[in-house]
Symmetry: C2
Subunit: 252 residues, 2 copies
């Protein structure tokens, strides 16, 4: 998922070209490793990330780590404080709301575009994913269900044929996955019923309906998150931390 770069990728080239072994730059691997460690909690929220420490941990030098950290900062996974270092981002309470609002806009548009010209093959795979996901959910494989959920949403955005939507929605989805995993068990069953209706609408080419369902779908997710939040925890005593000067993309 390498962002908005070139269009001339291998995806839609003439069928004969199969690029063989393109060794990934180290910074890329480091980036992947770090996001994974953040998502699975190895690197807890708020933890101070020291370049040389990570470098040692991953067996590389400072340089690739720095480059990876900067990308992580740009995408909001860590907060980079000048002269001090990176800390794993601690999400604000309203952040999930905003994230899901953004997702609603992006994916509902994607669903609309996908329904506008539904590709036979892709629709088949969507149906397959629905089935698989519902099964995983039922058997209690939450991680698998969450992953399948991501694949389904990802495929729908790809069906939109809009690389910007793909990219943005991809970023958002990954973040949502991070915050959301604990919520998934509760929400799961209903979620997959909605998915099925959504796929139906796309398959039928009913773009208004598809967009509508996707919107409600995300809205339900938001609700579920709030309910869980209200019900379970006054969690995480909000320590009176100093202001975290957030440096995303644009300079402060």
């Amino acid at each position: 998922m390498t962002t908005l770069s070139a269009g001339a990728d291998a995806t839609s080239e003439s069928p004969g070209v199969r690029h063989v072994k393109r060794p990934t730059p180290l910074r890329e691997s480091v980036y992947e490793a770090l996001t994974e460690m953040i998502i699975d909690g190895t690197l807890e929220r708020g933890r101070h990330l020291v370049e040389v420490e990570l470098a040692g941990m991953l067996g590389v030098s400072r340089q690739p780590v720095r480059e990876a950290l900067q990308r992580l900062n740009n995408e909001g996974w860590v907060d980079l404080r000048p002269g001090f270092g990176a800390m794993v981002h601690v999400p604000a309470e309203d952040e999930v709301d905003q994230l899901l609002a953004a997702r609603a806009a992006l994916e509902s548009e994607s669903a609309r575009l996908a329904a506008r010209k539904p590709d036979k093959d892709a629709v088949a795979r969507l149906k397959e994913l629905c089935k698989v996901g519902a099964n995983l959910q039922e058997t209690g494989d939450i991680d698998g269900a969450v992953r399948t959920n991501g694949e389904l949403h990802g495929l729908i955005t790809q069906m939109s044929g809009n690389r910007f939507l793909v990219d943005f929605a991809g970023q958002v989805d990954r973040r949502v996955r991070w915050y959301y995993t604990p919520v998934a068990p509760v929400r799961g069953a209903a979620s997959w019923r909605e998915h099925t209706r959504l796929v139906k609408a796309i398959s039928d080419g009913d773009e208004d309906k598809a967009a509508q369902i996707m919107r409600e779908h995300t809205e339900h997710t938001r609700k579920a998150y709030h309910d869980l939040q209200a019900g379970t925890t006054p969690v995480e005593a909000p320590a009176p931390e100093k202001k975290v000067t957030r440096r995303r993309r644009t300079t402060d």
Copy 2:
């Protein structure tokens, strides 16, 4: 020089904090410099950007240049080919379409949210911007009008109160500005009339209408771009000139 980013610092913080000297990291300055050079055509599309060359040109070492280039790559301004280097991105024909489709989704949602809780102050500034922009347009100051246009759209997304929408829309807008500047003169007048209606809807708190207008607004822009494209360009440059020094500042 970023108009958008400046807002986050002092404007909305608690009134006592005035960061006296925040020396911007070099990579940030380099990033700004390069985007500016790309937008104004100093770095032509497709040009191979050599790290050490840029470093010399800007009077810094390779590292900040690398970091800037990587960010530019992530945001789609350049394409990074492993082992070879960066080339200024050459937009595909369908790219503007996709960009504007993404903008439609992002900004129409922003307009909706802005209208949901219209801030008195912000609305006043919107009206001001409308007036200023229309004037600039009328007096033929295209660059100024385009800039003001950006500010207006930026302010609306900020009014949404959603940092992700702000961020994504900011990226998209900047890209649009790059591709779009030559179109602006044609489209200008009507565009500013639509802006006025849009601001009215936001001010009235009519969220459906605001979202609707913003959508149509972007759609009209897309149309205008296509019309211009069809009218002016016989697609492939007939003359095989290699070095086309692009002058896009004033009317060709």
